[in-house]
Assembly symmetry: C2
Homo-oligomer: 466 residues x 2
């Protein structure tokens, strides 16, 4: 142990947390709840200015639904410190010495470096947005939206952009949410989508509904678009985005292409990574083969309970659960994170989009044969004011009838219905069992057969063959 | 077989359905889907004017949210007849001869009676509203709201009532929904409630929230009120409702005290009835001990999957499921209705109310020890516009941690969250398992921990004891 880390007080252990967002600070907070400072010292390193912020909320801040940046901060650095967590902001961990049980951290502003030893370590280094190596990608006016600093930079650009033309690259969750944000700011929005339909987390037949709805909102959706470069004016500002086929004038460009696990530190230290580049953990969120190191949040891979395979899913709700599990275990309790079923919900203006479980291509990839059905229903009893149409797609395994996945596109009341399928997937229910589910019914909330049950009935009929 | 029934054609069976609403006509329709008229003759008797109507929609028609009575009719008599169902309206079945496999029906208008033989019989005789034997209960202006005729009669009274004072007797689902309807019609509404808090389907601590919200809507809620008589003017119209303690002036009175299975016919025929007066069936919805008789809808008792006991629950969504199961079995297929978990949702203006599973007193009655928790959360991320408060109560069994029940009171987005608990109850999940559920998260739809998960975490902590 070097002098620079101060050394842990005798009789107490030191927990070091790398990354001060959802997973890291949830872990720190939960560990603190279970162990007081005399028993556990907690040091948390965060390279940015903020802790515990809602990255998922950035599109709504940019779009103006959320007025102030600070509303997105669940817990400030001061609040963490008051709870006895030694939080070091603007401090990046640059090296992990597994054998020596220590990390090297660098003060981002001064450049000063020092080693800190740990008894237990939590890696919560998050994810990095994909930023393609394209000519012009670093032009002024081209923005990612991963951090609060990114959001502020984008808002600054919007406040001084010379025109009202926005190009969003990517048509996944971030892309469609940013399209909404920019529409709300009065921009003409073009979305450049590499795939055949937006929302590739849905099957194309459901993505097509999103496409149509986005066009209906005045968003120009360009599918099968391969971006080749960003065109820049003499002033260094973006002026257009070029694809293989065309040029799209742009006063501002938002990149929403997805994220990758940020595991450079772990990789250099020789920790086990999966096929998606994320850290591999056991059920207790302990890094495989390393009893003293836990990992959670956007930097890990998780078990998909439906396919049985590892996936990488960057989502705040998982990160919080991971942190809770890690903090419980580090604090001397016991908790596990069993895995995910792949639930995600989103919206573009009043269009709601939801999915859980496997798409058709996921099922094929893991060798599952399935029946797929699509039904139309409504959010409330058809006669009740505000009843809006909803399309539900459901996949069930052939022969067994086991539910494999659900996708929903609709208006108000559509998205959160996917939760019923998420629980049914977790429980391993068949679609036949689902037809009997005792879901809440009253005319303002549902038709007498809830849309999810209508889909289950159709899927069960198809599985049975009569 | 008497001459009057015409006799079934050789080689085809006759199905007789008693009761032309949700369960009966669902059964008839599904049987018809599976067997064509050459194989199965279907005769359905309905004593009223209508078929397949939404009784649950009546409060919204009375309140003006639904403009026309006919919007509440899912399928008209003509539509049923076009599908090859011999539907006889205004025809009441007055006797069931089980040994002779025939029913006696009376034309309500002419009084003419005749016997009709059956090969298979479906009893879907529904429920009757409780109408206490009180002096004055038959006064003009005192209304039930069970049938479309009831609804029309109430609307007629509203259109000519001399004043704007309404008294609703009963504070369950029908009572609170009728209170909303009458508020919407501009009435001063007083609700007389026998219990200590409204919505006795909730625990009193949750009912208290409904009480407060209803008072906030300008509804006068009188708890612990025992109605003793209805006071009538010289013109035969209601003028007040008296309780043991006070008199409440009324220009119109709505009775919403609950319903009982309408099983007089079955009782006279010696069919098996349960403790709640409902018909007892097996899982296929066949009346116990009677291979050729099925029963479903509001006239049967159902198995409560959480308590393991029989219950009577009058709800259109169950009736439709029963009908579907019966029709499948009668049509030569195979289906079962496993039971209910007791889910119900309702609203009073913008207040949403939901429950599933056991209340504290239900758990005690069946000898289950439990932990109960109550949490406050919001419908969306706290920073997202429209986030509204929500209270969730959760019961879990001691030691096992098995979920026993959930109650929710809140605003927009509160009620249907109970579906997650309904599926978890059906699957026999523990609250610890629930803490890991992969529910849909995005700021417009949920806090990063969904309110149901917040409750599950607190319940799991209490069960574990740390």
């Amino acid at each position: 142990m070097s002098m620079s880390d101060g050394g842990a007080r005798p009789g107490r252990e030191r927990l070091v947390v790398v990354g001060g967002d959802a997973a890291g600070m949830s872990a720190a907070s939960q560990a603190r709840r279970l162990k007081d400072p005399d028993a556990l010292e907690i040091v948390a390193f965060e390279r940015g200015h903020f802790t515990s912020f809602s990255a998922c909320g950035i599109p709504y801040w940019v779009g103006g639904d959320v007025a102030e940046r600070d509303q997105l901060i669940a817990r400030t650095p001061e609040e963490h410190r008051e709870r006895g967590i030694d939080l070091r902001l603007r401090t990046e961990v640059t090296e992990l010495d597994v054998a020596g049980k220590r990390v090297r951290a660098r003060d981002v502003d001064s450049g000063a470096e020092s080693w800190t030893s740990y008894d237990r370590l939590v890696l919560a280094t998050g994810a990095r947005p994909v930023r393609p190596e394209l000519p012009g990608i670093d032009a002024q006016g081209v923005h990612g939206v991963q951090t609060l600093d990114d959001g502020q930079a984008l808002l600054d650009t919007l406040s001084r952009a010379r025109g009202r033309r926005a190009v969003v690259v990517g048509a996944g969750y971030i892309g469609v949410e940013m399209a909404e944000a920019l529409i709300n700011r009065g921009y003409e929005v073009t979305v450049l989508n590499r795939g055949s339909e937006p929302m590739s987390t849905l099957d194309p037949d459901m993505g097509r509904l999103v496409h149509a709805a986005m066009e209906g909102l005045g968003i120009t959706m360009v599918n099968d678009a391969t971006v080749t470069k960003v065109l820049t004016g003499d002033d260094g500002w973006v002026r257009a985005v070029a694809t293989e086929d065309a040029e799209y004038p742009a006063d501002v460009v938002v990149l929403g292409i997805g994220v990758r696990p940020d595991t450079a530190l772990a990789r250099a230290a020789g920790l086990p990574l999966g096929a998606h580049g994320g850290l591999l953990t056991d059920r207790a969120m302990r890094v495989r083969g390393h009893d003293d190191i836990w990992a959670g949040g956007d930097c890990v891979e998780v078990l998909d309970l439906v396919s049985g395979q590892q996936r990488h899913i960057a989502l705040g709700t998982h990160a919080n659960k991971h942190g809770q599990v890690i903090g419980t275990n580090v604090g001397g309790g016991y908790a596990t994170f069993p895995g995910v079923v792949g639930t995600a919900v989103s919206k573009v203006c009043d269009l709601e989009i939801a999915r859980t479980g496997l798409r058709e291509k996921d099922a094929r990839r893991v060798g599952l044969r399935y029946e797929a059905v699509i039904i139309e229903s409504t959010s409330r009893a058809g006669y009740y004011p505000g009843a809006s149409p909803m399309t539900v797609k459901m996949l069930a395994e052939r022969r067994t009838g086991r539910l494999l996945g659900v996708q929903i596109v609709g208006r108000e009341g559509a998205a959160k219905r996917v939760d019923v399928a998420a629980v049914a997937l977790t429980a391993g229910m068949t679609v036949e069992q689902m037809t009997a589910l005792d879901l809440g019914y009253a005319p303002p909330f549902s038709p007498v057969w809830d849309p999810v049950l209508v889909a289950a009935r159709k899927a069960a009929t198809k599985v049975r063959g009569f």
